[in-house]
Subunit: 474 residues, 2 copies
């Protein structure tokens, strides 16, 4: 057992025994560090672990307290309030150039959108791939026409069923990652010039899909822990024709929220009243920190108006880029567009993943991943709280692996991005998540990588760079 785990266990035992009571302050990081002769980092890790276990929580100005029973305190981020005006989209150039510099293997990848590749069971999947490639020759074998490889479609439907969602396998179309799924679904339901409603901030993949088709985006007010504002959306639906609504109800990138179930149902019903299709990006659905799998918008869909997109890229195998769409009433259109767009998805990876799902312990793999991400979330939050300037606010992700950080208003995230790069650190500037500069002073931080000294030092350096941006702006 590591030092910080031991410390966390000791403190948890005191809480369990009632020595520290709900709402009561526990000793500060500094005092505990002195007291136990442990480094600040070790104590922060222990407190982060306790936070991830729900034992304590940090309160502004008052340090850490034993968590009271009842609702979680607000995370500090205010709901967004974008103007209800649609805009053409041209964000991809910025995103591409940013992601490019983020890919340097020398820099600490806090700006990366990707999960840690070492977390995936590639050896097992490759073993299956090899066995499949060696199967005695049939006439074909190298291609799978849309909708995709039957065994994989079956395994995906089975997985949804186990997660409480009954899916018609005939609605599933396999794609090149969720990116293609989102593109095809949007193209199936709307046409160039149409106005598409999105969250604010929104994941740039959604904006890319809109840009690709020459559509327009309208950003909708979004609550940092509950998702898209249904009142604001209803107002928009009353006044203009909306071609589709694209949302990420579970562990939204960048906010990390999970929409409450009743809000998901209301959203589906609201859109159905206006006959507006919903495109649901659910790529993080397996990466929840709570006790149970989140529901999908799709599970409240009675009219076939929800097009659900997901992939294995965040949970099992980024390198094969196998995604899918569950197409509702648009099955035929999506399938045809898939055929037109990339003809087929390579079959060997599809069959190899199907074998993995059938024979290996995907659940065991996911439990490890969820536990690691939950702990790393707490560590990242604790480090940002400790080392970023006063006035910094952040999201409360309950799944996935990104943190959304609001810095003081005078900090420009592009300036910070440049300074960070010069210091061998990358961040995701807020400009990528909107058609407007509304998130000028926000950054997205990735915490999928196993925690280490380099990451720790990078967060400390970032905090200093933020402070220097504030000074130079003053």
């Amino acid at each position: 057992m590591k030092l910080y785990e031991k410390l966390a266990d000791d403190i948890e035992a005191l809480v369990t025994q009632g020595v520290y009571r709900p709402g009561e302050k526990i000793p500060s990081v500094r005092r505990t560090s002195q007291h136990h002769r442990l480094s600040i980092t070790t104590v922060l890790r222990a407190y982060a672990l306790l936070e991830s276990r729900g034992v304590i929580e940090s309160r502004p100005q008052s340090g850490y307290i034993v968590r009271p029973h009842g609702p979680i305190v607000a995370a500090g981020l205010a709901p967004s309030k974008p103007l209800a005006i649609s805009a053409s989209v041209d964000v991809s150039r910025l995103v591409l150039s940013t992601l490019r510099s983020i890919r340097s293997d020398e820099a600490v990848p806090l700006g990366s959108p990707y999960p840690d590749p070492s977390a995936f069971p590639y050896q097992r999947i490759n073993q299956y791939a090899n066995a499949i490639a060696r199967r005695p020759g049939l006439w074909h074998g190298s291609e799978e026409l849309p909708p995709g490889a039957r065994p994989l479609i079956g395994q995906i439907a089975k997985r949804y069923l186990e997660n409480g969602l009954s899916i018609d396998p005939n609605e599933i179309v396999i794609t090149v990652g969720a990116t293609e799924a989102i593109n095809l679904c949007l193209q199936a339901v709307a046409k160039p010039g149409d106005v598409i409603a999105v969250e604010s901030p929104t994941f740039y993949a959604m904006l890319h899909a809109i840009e690709r088709m020459g559509m327009r985006a309208i950003e909708v007010a979004t609550h940092p822990r509950e998702g898209i504002d249904l009142g604001a959306l209803a107002d928009i639906l009353k006044t203009q024709r909306i071609g589709a609504c694209m949302v990420m109800p579970n562990f939204q990138n960048p906010l990390g929220f999970q929409m409450p179930d009743d809000k998901k149902r209301e959203l589906v019903e609201l859109l159905a009243r206006y006959d507006v299709p919903a495109i649901e990006n659910d790529v993080y659905h397996e990466l929840y920190y709570g006790g149970s799998h989140p529901t999908a918008l799709k599970s409240y869909d009675e009219k076939g108006l929800v097009l659900h997109c997901a992939s294995f890229s965040k949970s099992l195998s980024a390198m094969y880029r196998i995604g899918w769409a569950i197409t509702g009433r648009y099955r035929e259109q999506v399938e045809k567009l898939k055929f037109l767009n990339t003809l087929t998805t390579p079959s060997i990876p599809q069959l190899a993943i199907a074998e993995y799902l059938k024979n290996d312990s995907y659940d065991h793999h996911l439990r490890k991943l969820r536990k690691a991400y939950a702990q790393q979330a707490s560590l990242m939050k604790a480090m940002v709280k400790r080392f970023f300037p006063e006035g910094t606010k952040m999201s409360e992700p309950v799944g996935g692996y990104v943190l959304w950080v609001e810095m003081p208003a005078e900090v420009d995230s592009m300036r910070l991005y440049q300074l960070a790069l010069e210091n061998g650190i990358t961040v995701g500037p807020g400009y990528m998540f909107s058609t407007t500069p509304s998130y000028r002073n926000f950054i997205r931080l990735n915490y999928s990588y196993p925690w280490n000294e380099r990451i720790e030092q990078a967060v400390i350096t970032l905090g200093k760079l933020v402070a220097s941006c504030m000074r130079s702006a003053a």
Copy 2:
């Protein structure tokens, strides 16, 4: 040595020794069969082999003659003469449903567009893929942003250079097969509603790209051995705005021709005069039967107006679907569209193929493939000549692995397709290759599979089915 090879060698020796002279008839199949106590099939194979060697050729009504010096005789197919009227495109539904039934592993796949998968060195490529997946962990490793993996781009540029075409590696963008390359190139240069000039018949992938973007196709008269008619194209360019011209100058699917070099140059110059981009689909470029690699339109491109698309799917590894575009002056647009369309192409297959190209004998593999396809072409032609009804005409493919067969006018290829399916045989109906029913009585036959009794019997059965279609139409 096999019996038919022995027979072919014996006859070739007689020709070399001047026993049979140019233009002279050699004994008929039936007589040779009786004479040598060999089966009809064996003799046909021997004659096909001699034909592929250029020693003899078959003449209507007069059997086989020793090939005279001078130009090859016409193959019998007349140049196409489509109406110069643009049409909206909606061919993908037919193609998808046809390809689906063609994929049955029970049926003899004469209708398949795919090469024989057993011809590809998957074992070697998979070995490289495994080694790459095991490389010690970097931060990233699972994704390659556009333009794609540098080592592969370098190998592709090197290969072009060896084939006599000097390419700027900065123009190369890696894609999911040539399908995506064609789509992105077309989207980069033209917009919905634009009129796109294509060959007639044209490969349906070109029609799909036009359909995907809601553009219109105009089919241009095409010569069965020389390609698109430059006079007809010039007339069209004079009278209407053309958004792009999409052609397949080498081993066109379905006609199998190779455009002469001077015609390629003239085509590039003609289009450049009107500032019309050319999209060149060159997926079969490595599969030539003649002595040398064909030139590409791209090699005559001085203005950056030729967008060249190709892939490894026909020559090395269909199952990984790695293609590329050489983008001319449209590099930035194509790269951005790639990013929007599928984000990234999986990196492991890219790196594995790069390793294969670097370390293994791609040329040796290709020599075997070319030799096999050339022989199978001769066999397929000989069998169709022998067993299809009088009035049948066919293409003279000089590369690739498909034969285009014109049946008597009363035969409907969809009817034949249905009958063939019932007999466990697939064919590619002519309707797939045009926006009009101009190729109602044409079929495409695949000869990529190693010749065997089942294929032979299938061609014999097809011949009977064609005859029965003629009778029922009469």
